[in-house]
Symmetry: C2
DNA sequence: TAGATTGTTAATCGATTAACAATC
DNA sequence: TAGATTGTTAATCGATTAACAATC
């Protein structure tokens, strides 16, 4: 019956709610409301209630939302109640920063494999990992059963790397290369490019 | 008369068009069409034409768009026909990666100042810069007339840093700290948080 | 009980797409 | 001329907001 998929724009706001709830937890808070959350995030209370109502009834009239309960529900919905292993391709500045970043684990992710094609980098120790040869990427990732990857190679190589990742069974890609990837529609791709954000803002300057 | 502001969602797509055109240029291409651009970017041709038509008539019926001309127009619209100096606050992994990144300059931006509050880092040489004391942030940025900044400090410090930046006259902030900033509405803020992207994609996994 | 806040419906608002005359 | 593609209008689609009965 009701198997209309939830709009992706709603899915995109859930991690923002999750993050805010984690801050509330740190502050020792127990209960919040759509009004309070909305003020904190610059989102209307109606929208927050509508978003959450797609997944169930998590609040209580007159009171609001129990923070630890809602947090747990969002973790379940977003499937970050478990830890996803990540493969990182490209060990430049970004690859290094990501490999050393400690904040992933308690939010559902963990870097597990590092690849580069530069012979000077292969075998190098970065954080807790040894950089592996990109040439073996497909079999190593397939063997490890990894579903999530980050691309941090130059734009000129990103499309080819992405296709190998798909071949290896990766279903979600976070792409730091400044180029649009054309991949099968069942593979999810997100882009991170600081320049895009900066250029968007400079429109409004002066 | 016609002074309705252009929707921000359109502004947000212009840098994507610009990037694609730069790739075309590299490939030695001279002319493109909304159809071709759309296929490359996964955006409908109608939307691309509609977006561009907000700013003028840049194409030619039957032919399409002259790439160097459209590129130049987009650079003018986005105000990246000049170079904007950037102040970076927080010299951890991200601050380092940003300071060393070479790709900004030809896309309208240039890192100019680096700040940190850690005495061990102040005075340190990073890339071509000497890390300065965050305590002097307001006066140094004001003196330099800088309007664009990046925040790469821990979440707990980000709001305070942001307020100082605003005080210093900064009008556009790219925030790497995983927290929502509450600032005057005339200040533009964009967020970069890889975890938000990853959590959004993990919803679709399995 | 009185006050607060939810979940949901209906109304509004805004963005996307389809279609086509104009024209290179 | 014939074919291609623009810029734009109108139609469609989807997202946001306002409002309120239900109820803690």
């Amino acid at each position: 019956m009701d198997d209309k998929p939830i709009p992706d724009i709603i899915i995109g706001r859930l991690p923002i709610y999750l993050l805010a709830l984690q801050h509330f937890i740190k502050e020792g808070r127990q209960v919040t409301s759509s009004k309070e959350l909305g003020e904190r995030l610059g989102i209307s209370p109606a929208q927050i209630r509508k978003d959450l109502s797609q997944f169930g009834e998590f609040g209580k009239q007159g009171t609001g939302y129990d923070i630890p309960f809602l947090l747990e529900q969002l973790r379940l919905i977003l499937k970050v109640d478990r830890v996803w292993d990540i493969a990182v391709v490209g060990v430049g500045d970004i690859g290094h920063a990501v490999a050393g970043y400690q904040g992933f684990a308690d939010r559902g992710f963990r870097v597990k494999l590092l690849f580069d094609k530069d012979p000077a980098k292969i075998g190098e120790q970065v954080g807790n990992f040894v950089v592996q040869d990109s040439a073996n990427l497909v079999e190593v990732i397939k063997e490890a059963g990894i579903k999530v990857a980050m691309i941090a190679v130059p734009a000129s190589e990103a499309q080819a790397v992405a296709q190998q990742l798909v071949q290896a069974g990766v279903k979600a890609i976070l792409n730091y290369a400044p180029i649009n990837l054309n991949l099968p529609s069942e593979v999810h791709v997100q882009y991170i490019d600081p320049l895009l954000h900066l250029q968007r803002m400079s429109y409004y300057l002066i």
